[in-house]
């Protein structure tokens, strides 16, 4: 469990998560990228959709 940096709500990190995966805050919808550290996952804000994204 981590705290949303925008609204402080709790974000659950599923057991099968992998580094780089995107999680969203259930309350405010902010998106975060999972970063793996020695103590498990932390989060950093994810990039919004880029102009050159997609297929």
């Amino acid at each position: 469990m981590v705290k949303c940096k925008e609204c402080d709500a709790e974000i659950r990190i599923p057991d099968d998560s992998i580094e780089g995966e995107i999680v969203a805050c259930p309350d405010c919808g902010s998106s975060y990228e999972l970063v793996k550290g020695a103590d498990g996952f932390s989060i950093k804000p994810s990039q919004l959709v880029g102009e050159d994204w997609g297929q």
């Binding site: 995107i22 050159d52 994204w53 997609g54 297929q55």
Partner: protein
């Protein structure tokens, strides 16, 4: 990334882990295959440094420019990248793709291209309305507009005059009379492994899943298989998503080949384990 000699390992290069990247990673891991996820954003490549021979890299960056340039660097350093650089160059640009398909005898929607505001409007007087304007590079339906008449064309083209020069390459595609759906077929090597219909939602004429369309399984007919394989070969693709329309006048038309194809909806709707097939194909790739 460090040099490895083990050719039974895979590298998955990403900038965002979507459903597809996670599915590929888990497919390999569950079967005991050595796979390493590498975030392109963390990559530091010495272009004159150590070589990456014997590395098999599944290119999965969602950012086209990160994908293109990291492929160029890694392939230049000896790695086997799926898809290769030439495929990425061609598939990332609708005009380049169009010419490759056309020269391979594959039916595509009719297109005209111009390089100035004046030429664009003159050309459309002959080409006619409605027509579709598309950026030559771009995805998910962004900046694609249906131009129903000259006033609409003037408004959109004038806006493009104030944008990055790429958007002043005017690419106009015929508005194809078709059912409210298109087809996405996934090709791995020389096999069409699955296909779906993508339906547009409500009054939306674009069928991109990113815009909220819905998907249904599509049968792989001999005609569909032939045109998809031919299209894949035209762009030297290895793992691609071929997009087609069913023209009421011309039959199946290929309008795009995607070099970092999304396949979540295809797996969901068809049940075909595309992620497993990608891993199997990649292990044998060199």
């Amino acid at each position: 990334m460090t040099e490895r000699k083990n050719t039974t390992s895979l590298t998955l290069l990403y900038d965002n882990i979507r459903w597809e990247e996670k599915a590929i990673y888990e497919s390999a891991r569950k079967r005991g295959i050595d796979i390493t996820n590498v975030d392109c954003k963390d990559l530091i490549l010495e272009l004159d440094g150590p070589r990456y021979s014997n590395k098999i890299i599944i290119q999965r960056c969602v950012s086209y420019f990160k994908s293109l340039h990291s492929t160029a660097a890694l392939e230049g350093l000896g790695a086997s990248v799926i898809n290769p650089l030439n495929t990425s160059i061609v598939c990332g640009n609708k005009l380049f793709t169009h010419m490759k398909l056309k020269n391979a005898g594959i039916k595509t929607p009719k297109v005209i291209t111009t390089f100035s505001y004046e030429a664009a409007l003159s050309a459309l007087d002959v080409f006619g309305y409605p027509t579709i304007i598309k950026p030559t590079i771009g995805s998910w339906g962004r900046l694609i507009a249906l131009l129903k008449d000259k006033d609409a064309a003037k408004a959109v083209i004038e806006d493009r005059q104030h944008m990055f020069p790429l958007y002043q390459i005017y690419y106009f595609e015929e508005f194809v009379d078709r059912p409210p759906r298109d087809i996405r077929a996934i090709v791995i090597g020389d096999t069409v492994v699955a296909a779906i219909y993508r339906y547009s939602e409500n009054s939306e004429w674009k069928t991109n899943m990113a815009l909220g369309g819905r998907a249904e399984s599509c049968p792989i007919t001999k005609e569909l298989e032939d045109i998809c394989i031919k299209s894949t070969q035209a762009v030297d693709g290895k793992i691609v998503g071929v997009d087609l329309m069913e023209s009421s006048r011309d039959g199946l038309l290929v309008h795009e080949v995607n070099n970092t194809t999304e396949f979540k909806n295809t797996v969901r709707v068809t049940g075909v384990p595309i992620q497993d097939m990608i891993v199997d194909y990649s292990l044998q790739y060199n």
